[in-house]
Symmetry: C2
Subunit: 408 residues, 2 copies
């Protein structure tokens, strides 16, 4: 399978922009034609998940309908309109006359391991094709029928566009051994991207021998500085915690300057509580907001992905930075401040993919950053950091033009 | 140790260019002052290696003398004069007014595992400091005394410059368990770079849970195309094979177009043989150059790092590309041709970090590319590909300037 993907990747990488974009349109059409087959496969997946007693959040992620399918096709069309990152180049001439160029090329074969959302299947395939990569997809066992139907339509679209269908392949083996084998395809997979919960990502990080991009865990903080605009702080905290508590760029912790605690915390935490948020506070938080549950040492590093907020009173920006660097996951961190100096100190001192001054952590997203497409959010520092767009699925190649030069 | 490195990295990362460059000068001075201690420690290492019956090539790599030490100090001075990659930035404004900036920052803590060359110790420390990274070094057991003396001088230099000495630390534990532990310092090491033979690199790739940059293996080919300038081809092949056969960018294989084989091969292979190269040829090679040993299937993927050359006759550029993509290690590949079209086909079709048209593979090197410094040559596609200079030891951080924006 990986060998066929490699062959397909060489074909894809040699195609021009128009051929790859046409394939995206053909796939969109094929998804429309196969719509009934896809939705009926998906209904079976959903029925089985119901029988297994899965949560309603799980069923929502798993389920497809006409509207979702239209949305998926719409993203493919949008993707086909984005500029092609391949072929971007720079170059320089060396004293010996060699002309060294550095050209953007596809990574080659991209593996994706993810959970139950079948829309990831089409997203990943689309972004892969757009960037000239072959993709090997391994979705969750629970979405296998849906993914089979989606991948069949994708491959039909590829064939119609004259591209090798093996550019998109689905791993149907649901076993743990199958996943482990995929993580160890050294020489066949150029990168493996896990998307999903902490457990999945940890398993991949610990077992993969192929290069991996770590995505997603977000224990994000909002630090409200001394003298901050309290209205702005309130708006940002509410947005960061409440606009989508289940995603990685949602705030999990509020750090509040001591001088502000007596005024800001009771007001902010009451409002959050009214909206269903459980507050877990440090002793100083509980002194000004006694209804808070006591926060334990385990709270500070945790990503709740839920209506829970850890709250800590700190003595200043340095303490906030130290706390974030100690417990954060290097995803997205925000300061609300009026101080120019402390804004810069926070931006420099915090070790995270995205640092926000007076804005919500929820903006960490390929679309919000203007990338047009997103394949995940990297929390590692190699290759990609923060929202990954099309460029992050490419690498470069040095092409050196000589006239017979040899090295002395 | 890793925790102290992280602390030191935060300090280093917050320093300006001048402070880091001054540290490099102080280290250079400290190496001069400690010269006698370093050379005497090195003599002990060399004596022990002699007792253990190490090869003369090994002893050459291990040994230091006044001149080598001067060279090491000179590279530190040159490094201090290179432009600072940190702080480079780009930015754009979003429709909602958010100003998104992307700033080049240090990786943080860089681990290096390498073998017996003590000059790598100073190189790695210097490049680390230049780029604002703390480094944890694990050199070969055989160079432990030398590395201890070198790191002591480096730390003295750091202290004098007012930088935390823990920015450069040496792992003194020579055990395999110590190395494995280092490979699994998830959350503490931002990247691990192995430098050395295939065995070392494979061990790291298979066992590391931290992000790794794969370096070095080079099964490099020179393809001599139909109608090529035979004089140029000869010069390039001789240079690629002979100028330093023990390094990763040396040619290991010669692919020759069938039409050229009867004229070119006997001449080229005789000259190589005269210079001590053992020729291992395919049947067609042996038909025109009967003295060649028969090449076996195991020869094609092998990196000899020695005076051996595998030779294969091919039918054209497509066969050459297919052979290289099948057996190559994606390091450096060259074509010698007069055809514009086939030059471009080769450059596009070959999957390697560096592709040369009419030039020797030996140019794959940070210095030759004009990077001023090199930390290794990456054969993977993530983050770094080809010679790694200062930039490859950096990442970026998004700093987003808002005025109270929240996400709808």
């Amino acid at each position: 399978m990986a060998r066929r993907a490699r062959e397909a990747a060489y074909v894809l990488g040699s195609l021009g922009t128009a051929a790859r974009d046409r394939a995206l349109s053909e796939i969109s059409s094929a998804l429309a034609e196969e719509g009934e087959a896809i939705l009926s496969a998906n209904r079976e997946d959903v029925r089985e998940a119901e029988r297994e007693g899965r949560s309603s959040a799980f069923l929502r992620r798993l389920g497809l309908d006409e509207a979702k399918l239209r949305g998926i096709r719409e993203s493919l069309r949008e993707l086909s309109l984005l500029p092609d990152p391949l072929g971007e180049a720079e170059g320089w001439r060396r004293p010996n006359g060699l002309f060294i160029t550095r050209v953007r090329v596809p990574l080659g074969v991209v593996g994706m391991i993810y959970e139950s959302r079948p829309n990831v299947t089409v997203d990943a395939a689309g972004i892969g094709i757009k960037t000239g990569n072959a993709v090997i997809l391994r979705g969750g066992r629970e979405a296998l029928r849906s993914n089979r139907a989606l991948v069949a339509a994708i491959r039909k679209g590829l064939e119609r566009a004259g591209l090798p269908p093996d550019a998109v392949q689905l791993v149907e083996d649901p076993s743990r051994e199958g996943a482990l084998e995929m993580m160890r395809l050294t020489g066949y997979l150029d990168v493996l991207i896990p998307r999903g919960g902490e457990g999945l990502i940890r398993t991949v990080m610990e077992n993969a021998t192929v290069p991996v991009i770590e995505t997603g865990t977000g224990n994000c903080h909002v630090y409200v500085d001394e003298g901050a605009d309290e209205e702005m702080a309130l708006r940002i905290v509410m947005n960061a915690k409440l606009s989508n508590p289940a995603v990685c760029n949602a705030a999990e912790k509020l750090l509040c300057h001591r001088a502000l605690a007596p005024s800001f915390l009771p007001r902010a935490l009451s409002l959050l509580e009214e909206r269903g948020v459980e507050i877990r506070g440090c002793p100083e938080t509980r002194a000004v907001f006694p209804r808070a549950h006591p926060a334990s040492e385990e709270d500070w590093p945790r990503e709740y992905l839920d209506l829970i907020l850890g709250v800590k009173v700190v003595g200043g920006v340095e303490e906030a930075i130290a706390h974030i660097n100690r417990y954060g996951t290097r995803h997205s961190e925000a300061i609300v401040t009026r101080s120019y100096e402390r804004a810069l100190r926070f931006a420099r001192g915090v070790d995270a993919a995205c640092v926000y001054i007076n804005a919500s952590t929820r903006f960490t997203d390929g679309g919000e950053f203007g990338f047009g497409a997103e394949i995940g959010i990297s929390t590692q520092k190699l290759h990609a950091r923060g929202p990954m767009g099309l460029r992050e699925l490419t690498t470069w190649k040095y092409v050196v033009y000589g006239e017979g030069q040899v090295r002395e």
